[in-house]
């Protein structure tokens, strides 16, 4: 007899135990099962019931995979529980860090008059729509109350370059305070680049300020979306981009696109424009329903289905690009894939639970109001002040962070207890988004079957999982995306 035991000797003799997992139908033939750590596995539809009821001897391969991803375990095994706990802890670790992103709306004034825009005013008057130094000082007091060792200050508008003196004031003041604080302090300016001067660039270079800009696609589309006197938004963007890259560094300028009904038939052209200008990724965004977008009914002019077609077409093209050797990322997919393929949390406010509002990001508005998110202040511009957490001039850090407006929204939208979210297989990849649901449905949870947010994200999650299942090369490309953020 051999001194070695056979494989069967090491196979488990008793039946397995189920570890917590959720399931959902992926398509007509398959289910996807997921756990809190974000692990997923696709199984043929008829296998689901036997796995759960343990009524059918599963193949050794399936048993191995279910153990490997911690969907099942055998009695006395400790490693699966430890690994699950570790991954969930890792995923939630950012919560303990608290607020990182602090948005300063230094002015509402803007040189553009985009029909979809959320928050801008065509005004020459300086006082009315600009942040004051008193507000900035108080806001900085607030910023450094955050326990987060990394602090990002993002300047928004309007067009923040129209109040560049305030940008400079905040940067210099924040850096002065940071000599003592020692945080990892970073700055971003969200700007169309149209008003960028060499002096501004010098300042940005000196203080390592990154620029986050906007590009909607080819010139005609971009200029139609973004009217300004002279109809030269695209040209100014391109010139600004070139100057800024030369001064600050090629990767120090990013661009975000806004999707409008005009964009929908032009996914490839938009992506090509990003390629032409040397970007290595694009964020295929939905149209935001806030601000003037709701009023002008612009966001109603195409429905979620149509947007999903646009997204899938764009994504397919981007995958083709990657397969031909061009590294190019679709950033929304990358955020979702990070949640699917790693234990990391990309920290994207829309896809966080508890919601990122207030605790991942917070907004100091030009008028001294403090909002739970960028969207919250857009809602306020339409007269809905639900997510106004207080005034930086009148209220303390504690009063603002512990305000009922914020705590109720976070608690009531928590996806692990929200109806239909708590038992959704895609919950680990999704987020709470109380502000969106309040804006559209007047309820921070809303009925999910009616939620375009839910429909859109579910479709994206399923689509990404199916793409990975159908093609090894795509899965490999996605693994690369997942590990970038």
């Amino acid at each position: 007899m051999s001194k070695f035991q056979k494989l069967e000797f090491y196979a488990q003799q008793q039946t397995y135990e189920l570890l917590p997992f959720k399931f959902d139908r992926l398509n007509d033939d398959e289910y996807v099962i997921t756990n809190m750590a974000g692990e997923f596995h696709v199984i043929p539809a008829p296998m689901l019931e036997p796995i759960i009821s343990k009524t059918f001897a599963l193949s050794p391969e399936l048993i191995a995979t279910l153990r490997s991803k911690q969907f099942i375990r055998f009695t006395n095994e400790q490693a699966p529980l430890q690994l699950l706990a570790l991954k969930i802890r890792t995923r939630l670790s950012r919560l303990a860090q608290f607020t990182n992103l602090h948005i300063f709306v230094v002015t509402l004034r803007c040189d553009h008059s985009c029909p979809y825009c959320q928050v801008s005013r065509q005004s020459e008057s300086k006082g009315e729509f600009d942040m004051t130094t008193e507000m900035a000082d108080k806001s900085l007091d607030f910023v450094f109350r955050s326990p987060n060792p990394a602090i990002k200050i993002e300047f928004q508008g309007g067009e923040p370059l129209l109040n560049f003196e305030m940008v400079k004031y905040v940067v210099l003041e924040a850096k002065k305070r940071n000599l003592k604080e020692g945080r990892d302090l970073r700055f971003v300016i969200a700007t169309t680049l149209s008003l960028l001067t060499d002096d501004m660039l010098d300042f940005c270079k000196q203080h390592n300020i990154v620029l986050s800009s906007s590009l909607d696609g080819p010139m005609d589309l971009h200029n139609a979306n973004r009217p300004r006197p002279g109809r030269d938004s695209h040209q100014r963007f391109e010139e600004g981009l070139k100057k800024a890259r030369a001064a600050l560094g090629y990767d120090q300028v990013s661009a975000l696109m806004t999707t409008t009904d005009k964009s929908l038939p032009r996914a490839r052209e938009i992506i090509d424009e990003y390629l032409r200008l040397g970007f290595d990724g694009i964020f295929l965004r939905t149209l935001s329903p806030y601000g003037f977008a709701i009023k002008t009914k612009k966001f109603m002019s195409y429905d979620t289905e149509r947007w999903l077609e646009f997204y899938k077409e764009g994504l397919e093209y981007i995958i083709e690009l990657n397969k031909s050797g061009i590294r190019f990322v679709e950033q929304y997919s990358a955020i979702v894939l990070t949640k699917m393929l790693t234990s990391g949390d990309p920290g994207f406010v829309d896809l966080m639970n508890p919601a990122g509002a207030g605790i991942a990001a917070i907004v100091f508005n030009y008028d001294g109001s403090v909002y739970a998110s960028d969207e919250s202040r857009m809602l306020a511009e339409m007269g809905d002040h639900t997510f106004r957490l207080g005034s930086i001039l009148e209220h303390s850090y504690e009063e603002i962070i512990l305000s009922d407006q914020l705590l109720d929204a976070l608690e009531n939208s928590f996806t692990l207890s929200a109806p239909m979210c708590s038992d959704c297989a895609f919950e680990p990849y999704c987020g709470a988004e109380p502000v969106y649901h309040h804006a559209i449905h007047k309820d921070v949870v809303a009925r999910k079957p009616e939620s375009a947010f839910c429909k859109r994200n579910m479709s994206i999650f399923k689509h990404l999982i199916e793409l990975m299942g159908s093609d090894e090369q795509t899965k490999r490309i996605f693994m690369g995306w997942a590990n970038r953020c």
Binding site: K3, F4, Q5, K6, L7, F9, Y10, A11, Q12, E39, P60, I63, A64, T65, R67, S68, N76, E77, Q78, A79, Q82, L83, L86, K87, L341, T342, S343, E472, R476, M479, G480, A482, N483
Partner: protein
């Protein structure tokens, strides 16, 4: 292949009660007298200094016996041992019949076998475990460590399972830190002992400045891993051991030997590692050594690396996407795809490293890690494709 131990030809001892066990070798004629008394001189010509505790001669220098200082202890070794050099440490057995070279100062690959006992019985073990009490080895290591040159770059502790005797393992590690504070320490363990948080903590408290524990994980499927290592529940304990070590900030390397069993789920294993153990410091994917038990289980283990090269590429690709630190060891350059090159290492210890006859014409031989001597002797890929 270098011969590291075996019979000696003749030993001449003036004082038979004076037992020489461990001896540090010198080739320096100018060593101060005071240092000579503890050292052994390797004779290479007739200029032989006086005052060494012992003298070594290889057989071809046997005629130099007459040139030795009067009443010297000496040993005559087979010519195989001509490589013994300055700073090496040897053991002359108590019965004066055999020699073992324990440390070679000129080699970057010195490993110290801590014990032959193990709680695994791996199908491909190159150093088959023995149950017998071998704690004399531990005594010897405690004497050896102070003799090792202080400028040694790296030292490997291997086995058996080096933590079998936990207290003595900790003592040896502690001693190593004291005597060799600048040496990188590599410990090859199956990690199961570190499942005990108290033991893991005590190891961590030694605070070796530069140490890594290399721990094998052969499959993401616990059953397959347990079968390969022939130990029930091993996977569960090994994973817990890794988690404890990393929780304590200790460096851990995962070592995967590739063979017909482990290749079955190698990409799944790599996904498992990337997903669950992303924080380990290094992942080594290693070719099979044709030694020990491997030859007994050859049918079950052998797969031509040529047949698995695409699976290897896929597996390395997964780890690379997750940004892990990867090495591919013990493979031949012509049997891996070019996407492996960035991770390819010439890894086989110098004393057991050879090339096949097919390799003679190869233009990239100097870039290639070649084979284990055991591979040349007992079988290697039929698919070698020398570069030309």
């Amino acid at each position: 292949m270098l011969k590291l131990g075996g019979k000696i030809i003749r030993i001449h001892a003036v004082d038979v009660d004076k037992t020489i066990t461990l001896a540090k070798v010198s080739t320096s004629r100018n060593l101060p007298e005071v240092l000579r008394r503890e050292m052994t001189y390797m004779v290479s010509d007739n200029q032989i200094p006086q005052g060494f505790a012992h003298y070594l001669l290889v057989e071809k220098h046997r005629y130099l016996v007459d040139a030795l200082p009067l009443d010297s202890d000496f040993s005559i070794l087979p010519d195989d041992y001509s490589y013994i050099g300055d700073g090496d440490v040897i053991r002359l057995s108590a019965d004066r019949q055999s020699i073992r070279v324990l440390f070679r100062a000129s080699s970057p690959h010195n490993s110290i076998l801590v014990t032959e006992q193990c709680n695994h019985y791996c199908l491909m073990c190159s150093q088959p475990p023995k149950a017998a009490d071998d704690s004399w080895i531990l005594d010897e290591i405690e004497s050896l460590i102070p003799l090792i040159p202080k400028d040694t770059r790296e030292l490997v502790f291997t086995g058996g399972e080096p933590t079998t005797s936990r207290e003595r393992f900790l003592n040896i590690i502690s001693l190593t830190k004291s005597y060799l504070p600048r040496t990188a320490i590599h410990i090859l363990s199956n990690g199961r002992s570190f499942k005990d948080p108290v033991f893991a903590e005590r190891y961590a408290q030694i605070e070796l400045p530069d140490a890594m524990i290399g721990i094998p994980v052969y499959s993401d499927d616990p059953t397959l891993h347990d079968y390969i290592v022939q130990a029930q529940g091993a996977f569960d304990e090994t994973i817990q051991g890794i988690l404890n070590l990393k929780r304590l900030g200790q460096k851990v390397e995962i070592r995967v030997v590739i063979h017909k069993l482990s290749i079955q789920r190698l990409p799944e294993l790599c996904e498992f590692i990337a997903r669950n153990l992303l924080f380990v410091d290094h992942v080594a994917l290693m070719g099979l050594e044709m030694m020990g038990f491997t030859r007994a289980n050859l049918d079950e283990l052998w797969i031509d690396p040529f047949e698995y090269k695409d699976i290897l590429s896929k597996s390395v690709g997964i780890l690379a996407k997750y940004g892990m630190h990867i090495s591919v060891y013990n493979h031949q350059l012509c049997l891996v795809n070019s996407d492996i090159y960035p991770y390819y290492r010439k890894s086989i210890s110098d004393w057991k490293n050879e090339y096949a006859t097919e390799c003679e014409v190869c233009t990239r031989k100097s870039d290639c890690g070649g084979f284990f001597s055991s591979g040349i002797k007992h079988g290697y890929s039929k698919s070698l494709m020398p570069f030309c």
